[in-house]
Amino acid sequence: MGKENKNTRRKFLDKGLKLGFITALSGFGISKVASKLNATPNHDSGSKMELMNTNGDIIQVDSTDVTPVEHSSDHDKKYNVREGMPNRKFVMVVDLAKCKNALACQSACNKHHYVTGDNAWIKVYNMQESKDTAPYWMPVTCQHCDQPACVTVCPVDATFKRKDGLVLIDNERCIGCRFCMAACPYSIRVFNWSEPDQGEIYVDMDMSHHTPTPEHAGKPSKMGTVDKCDFCPHAIKNNELPHCVTACPNGVFYFGDKYEDTVTNGDESLRLSKLLEDKAGYRYMEALGTEPSVYYLPPTDRLVDFNDGLENYTEYESVAKPE
């Protein structure tokens, strides 16, 4: 219901905007059209070209109508950090049937993002809805919501939504009001309550020439600002998978592009739509209308024993501290 309302409202706004635009442009447009009508078409050079259109049909076009498209060599790599990669929409699928709380995802994430606080960015929850239903392990990352509650409430645009689906944080902008943490229903945001203990990393990575961007993989974290799972933009930029995906020994995580309709866990690549259909995929707390980018496959026909995971389960710890 709520979602529908939102959608109709958006459509209404959309229409209103467009209508406004049309009225404003029509004056300008009419004069343009008039000049076009008066001009004599120059479609008569005699030479025709054969091209394939998007439907796969061969069509003939006058060669004077064809202008080459300029290709930029670094089209995929060079992009605005706040805008994201053009024409991509990153999604994740988490197969609960395979998860046995190996926690390799968490260790990898902690390590690669230099998580030094008490709260990890990715957590594997010990879930049991009611006492008669079966327990299962549930990894939770940032859901990179398409209607992100965290972004809506941020007063300074420090946390933002990119066109490619990622929700990121600008630690140079965040004022530490923690409103986004209150707003996120998935409780995945963590705060740097103290100066993050990343001193040595600084030296290791030689951060001196590094201009900070939200794609820093959590370094350097800043005291008094928020952090969270970022879907590893530093990795996807280089066509690599996020660290949790590659680290998981059980292939629980699939990552991919919704527009390409493919996801992969490193071992197998699958059609996203087919996977979701076959395994009855769903999104967590769909009813809230946050439109997550993370899909879950229900823990049916489990390949693993829940109890195996209990060995790794630490209720009060998610970031291993150096001794």
Binding site: D118, N119, M127, R178, S187, E315
Partner: protein, 438 residues
């Protein structure tokens, strides 16, 4: 009838007594301790608090909400009493405005204290995004502050001119200050017309501004998905709660000022009786919204809501919950129903009780909700499942409250808390009426 000189003598600000000086010293000590704690907090980060990724807001925010609520009293009394031409307001409104001013200033300070990066506080203006309720707050708080300031200042002009004359011989320096602040007030017809018009405009403006302020404050919470916050009831709930907190603070302050400044002749039992009825009404309205907020959800609650309500009704927070509901609302209403219950001394204690309950009320609006997220609390230190403010937080909060009291004390010291000119005019009118009748 009293002479003009007598009025001025009675109502002109008086030097600090010994007791007041001790009080002042005490406030300064508390403020200083909090200042040191805050310096430490800025240096070592919010880790000095007991806040965590679950209880991400705590006592600072609840104190902020308390200040916002208290600041409503100026708007409420002025708008309601002035616009309805209530005669008994004269000795009360100025103190109400002073309380409002002190509270709204401290609300602004408190919210900055809560920030993880106070050095970036200005970003809220530089990078402001209008979709965030915090931005609405950044706009409304200064606006309300300015409105309250003028509401206090304009009616003061004639009094400042009187005080300039009064202190000419005894304290020329003070007299000069009053003179400057009085903006050359001569009491001419033009000046009076202008002043009256200005006051009227501000008085009309301040009520909507006050209502907006309270509502935005409520929306800070209800614009999230959190159980116990995401409630359509929150706007009016906060407004009526602000009424209670504000009027109770007014009662307590007026009692103290009257006692210390010896104003028993001007602020009488009659005024307390009226304020008592006002406070009882405020409590009853707030009770109604409390019933909406807690009783109805209890009838048809989801699992999470059920857990939340249980911690309030019978669980971890039940002691505070019932203290603020019974002690802070029901008992006061019962006491205030009796005429004796509305006598100054009883009213003072009732007021104290309500103020205290109002403060804790904010605490249990902010805290318990955060400790009941949708996902279970796992993988974090055990201490994160609970929240109780740390020493730093108490010191800083104490210092914030003390600063508000300091502003109050200083304003009461240097401003006539009961309007001199107005009191004289009213008494003259009364006399005319009496002699006219006889």
């Amino acid at each position: 009838m009293k002479s003009r000189e007598q009025f001025i003598q009675d109502l002109a600000p008086k030097k600090f007594t010994k007791a007041e000086k001790i009080w002042l010293g005490l406030l300064i000590v508390v403020i200083f301790a909090g200042f040191l704690a805050y310096v430490d907090q800025v240096r070592s980060g919010l880790q000095v608090t007991n806040l965590n990724d679950y209880a991400l807001w705590g006592i600072y925010i609840s104190n902020f909400v308390f200040f916002i609520a208290t600041s409503f009293v100026g708007a409420a009394t002025v708008a309601i009493l002035r616009l309805t031409q209530n005669a008994w307001r004269t000795p009360l409104v100025r103190i109400a405005e002073i309380i409002s001013l002190a509270a709204i200033i401290m609300a602004g300070v408190t919210i900055i204290i809560d920030l993880g990066r106070p050095d970036r506080a200005l970003y809220t203006i530089i990078y402001a995004r209008f979709q965030s309720p915090i931005t609405w707050d950044v706009i409304i708080i200064p606006t309300y502050l300015v409105a309250i300031f003028f509401l206090l200042y304009f009616p003061l002009l004639p009094d400042l001119a009187i005080l300039k004359e009064f202190y000419k011989k005894t304290n020329p320096r003070l007299s000069k200050w009053y003179g400057k602040l009085s903006l050359n007030w001569k009491g001419s017809a033009v000046q009076k017309a202008l002043q009256q018009k200005s006051i009227k405009i501000i008085a009309v403006l301040v009520l909507p501004l006050g209502l907006i302020l309270q509502t935005i404050d409520a929306w800070l919470f209800s614009s999230t998905y959190r159980i116990g916050w995401n409630s359509t009831n929150f706007g009016p709930y906060f407004i009526s709660g602000a009424f209670v907190a504000g009027v109770a603070t007014l009662v307590v302050t007026i009692f103290m000022v009257r006692k210390v400044k010896g104003l028993e002749e001007y602020i009488t039992d009659y005024h307390f009786d009226k304020m008592g009825k006002f406070l009882a009404l405020a409590c009853l309205i707030y009770l109604y919204f409390n019933a909406n907020e807690y009783l109805m959800p209890a009838y048809a609650s989801t699992v999470n809501e059920g857990i939340h309500l249980e911690t309030l009704f019978t669980g971890h927070y039940s002691t505070i919950f019932w203290f603020v509901t019974i002690g802070g609302l029901i008992v006061p209403v019962i006491i205030l129903m009796f005429k004796k219950g509305r006598s100054p001394v009883v009213m003072f204690w009732v007021g104290m009780l309500v103020v205290l309950a109002s403060w804790w009320k904010r605490y249990i609006i902010v805290t318990p909700t955060l400790l009941h997220p949708y996902l279970p609390i796992q993988g974090v230190p055990e201490s994160w499942r609970d929240y109780f403010p740390s020493l730093h937080e108490w010191l800083i909060t104490g210092s914030n409250l003390a600063t508000a009291l300091l502003i109050l004390t200083l304003l009461v010291r240097y401003l006539p808390v009961v309007a001199i000119q107005r009191t004289m005019d009213e008494s003259a009118l009364e006399n005319k009426a009496k002699t006219g009748e006889s």
